[in-house]
Symmetry: C2
DNA sequence: TCATTACTTAGAATGATTATTAAACCATAT
DNA sequence: ATATGGTTTAATAATCATTCTAAGTAATGA
């Protein structure tokens, strides 16, 4: 298991690598992202952080999130023009966005697929990142259990 | 070559299929999208339409673009939280977004790749659309010839 | 210590888009 | 033709997420 101390160590490590400081605000923002990995918006992060740190401001949450993105600890994800969502999953993965519930799920990419996708680029295009976004609806898995009451 | 009459026929066809009317505003908005396929924003479309129709309002441009998206004549594309861009290319394709110039290019998808990408989804996820977005920088091809600025 | 720089806060400002509302327009039934 | 009811447009206000600004705090270094 990963302890709180470990978390703040990776964090302060990455921050100082970029010439930045570890602060209580940055630590608590990062920790709420790790605690519930449901791609929260800045406002949602703000709401989760507040109980632990009531004086923190929304602007600071935005600043911290941006900082975490800068040092590659967090990925920013956008669906259409909705608010930016934040994701601490660093493995290469796609996103599935449920148009009905708004829920967002990580979808692991099999080895090689990303390279295959990158291979479609003309040679003069150098991609620094690739985003794969699915939009749709998740049907509850047809399995034994409660009947779908509709 | 496709004439103006043909264009407005497809347009009014699609519109009436959706129970909507063909209007001069919708026609001129659609025509500027076809004329220069560089993924303009609503503001850019507005600027291009104005000379032809000086009284048109920005709100109407937004409305027309939304209408065209609804009847599948135009695709809306988003990069991060930048303004929505509009693309009349209906073939399945990915997008390359140049982080330096802001230019956007369509990238054709080889047959089968989209299915391959969709295949990574768990069975309970039904994707109605897939977006593939590259972000990066294009190195000018060292060669003569017309620029492929689609 | 004192100066420098980084960081946080509160609130104002911005930018893109959507909502509101009144007027103009159009198709059709009378 | 004219009334009617729905559609579309235009101008402007409102909204939402985000960024900017200014002022205060705190850590760091000469």
């Amino acid at each position: 298991m990963i302890s709180n101390a470990d978390i703040s160590e990776t964090l302060s490590q990455r921050l100082s690598d970029s010439g930045l400081r570890s602060t209580p605000q940055r630590e608590v923002v990062y920790s709420v992202l790790l605690k519930k990995r449901d791609h929260p918006t800045a406002e949602e992060v703000f709401a989760r952080v507040k109980p632990e740190m009531p004086m923190i401001s929304l602007a600071t949450v935005y600043n911290c999130l941006e900082t975490l993105v800068q040092c590659d600890l967090v990925r920013a994800v956008n669906f259409e023009r909705g608010p930016t969502r934040y994701c601490p999953n660093l493995h290469p993965h796609a996103h599935f966005h449920d148009v009905e519930t708004g829920a967002t799920h990580d979808v692991d990419l099999p080895a090689g697929l990303l390279d295959q996708v990158k291979a479609i680029l003309p040679e003069d295009f150098k991609a620094s990142s690739v985003e794969i976004i699915f939009r749709g609806k998740e049907s509850p898995k047809a399995r034994g259990g409660e009947p779908s009451s509709i």
